[in-house]
Subunit: 141 residues, 2 copies
DNA sequence: CCAACCACTTGCAAATAACAAGTAACCGCA
DNA sequence: TGCGGTTACTTGTTATTTGCAAGTGGTTGG
C-alpha cells in the first residue's frame, strides 16, 4: 500500500490534511491561542484557561506540539521548578491563519468577545497586525 | 454558573474557541476542503476521499455543518436519489482561513502536494485568489 | 414493480478523552 | 541539610467518541 492514513503521523501531502494531523482536535489551537494572544507560557497557565482542559490531555498536546516543532520547552530562568513554553518560528507562522480564524469567528459569533479595536486593525491591515503581534512575542522572549 | 463549557454548543465568545466548537476535530475541515477546493458535492464523493472517513462520522459532521450554517443540503436536481451539499456564504467566508492554512502547510510539509502555481498566486495576491475561487464556486451553483 | 444506486442508520468493539488521585523535581527557608 | 510549598506532570479508572461492518429506506431507470 502507498498511504497509511490510519496513522496520523502519515498525514502529509494535502495541506489541509497536514494541518489536521498537527492541530485537528479540540484543544491544540486553544493552547496556541494562549501562547499567541494571551501571553501565557506555563503549564499551570494553560490549565487555568476557562475551557478546563484536563491535565493528561494538556501534557499530551504540549508534547505533540513540541515534537512537531510548533513550540519549544525550556526550564524557566526565573524559577527552575517550572518550564517555559514558547512558539517556534514555525508556530509563529501560524499567526495569519489564527487571525483569519478570528476574523471569520467575529463575523458569525453573536457573542463574540473580540475587541472592536482589534478587529478594526485586523481588517484594515492584517499583515501589519500579524507583524506587530509577532514582534511583540519575539521581544518578550 | 455562568459558562458551561462542557457542552460544546456553548463555545462562543473567544473566536478560537468558537472555531473549535464548529470545526475542532480531525474530519470537519477535510469535508470543507472537498467542498471548497476539490469540486465535491455529494455524500459518496466525501466518502471516497483518500483519508477514509467512516460513514457514521461523515453523516454526523455533515449534519453539524448544516446545523451551524456552514453548508446546506438539497435534493439534487439531476438525480433525485442523492443530495447536493454546498457551502453557504458563512462557509465560503472560511476561504481566507483555509488559504492561510494552505500557505502555512506548504512551507512546512516536506511532502506537500500544493501545486507551485497555486502557492505562487496565493502569496502574490491572497485576497484576489480567494475572490476568484469563491466566484467559481458561486458560479457552479 | 424490481434491481441498482445512494445516503444514511445501527450495533458493537476499539481508541480517546475526562476525572481524580498520586509522584517527582525544584525552590525558599530554618 | 531537610522540610513544606509549588509546579509539572503520570497513572488508573470511567465516560465518551470513533471506527468498522452490516443493514435499512428512499429514488430512479427499465
Amino acid at each position: 500500500m502507498t498511504n497509511d492514513f490510519k496513522n496520523i503521523e502519515n498525514w502529509q501531502g494535502c495541506p489541509v490534511r497536514f494541518g489536521m494531523g498537527i492541530f485537528g482536535d479540540k484543544w491544540t489551537l486553544l493552547v496556541i491561542r494562549d501562547l499567541m494572544f494571551k501571553g501565557k507560557s506555563y503549564y499551570g497557565q494553560f490549565q487555568d484557561s476557562e475551557e478546563g482542559i484536563s491535565t493528561n490531555i494538556l501534557a499530551d498536546r504540549l508534547q505533540k506540539l513540541e515534537r512537531n516543532g510548533i513550540i519549544d520547552k525550556a526550564r524557566d530562568a526565573e524559577n527552575g521548578a517550572r518550564y517555559i513554553y514558547r512558539l517556534t518560528p514555525k508556530g509563529l507562522d501560524m499567526m495569519p491563519m489564527m487571525l483569519a480564524m478570528i476574523d471569520w469567528a467575529e463575523r458569525y459569533d453573536g457573542q463574540t468577545e473580540v475587541p472592536p479595536a482589534f478587529i478594526k486593525e485586523l481588517r484594515r491591515d492584517p499583515a501589519g497586525l500579524a507583524a506587530r503581534l509577532r514582534a511583540e512575542l519575539e521581544a518578550g522572549t
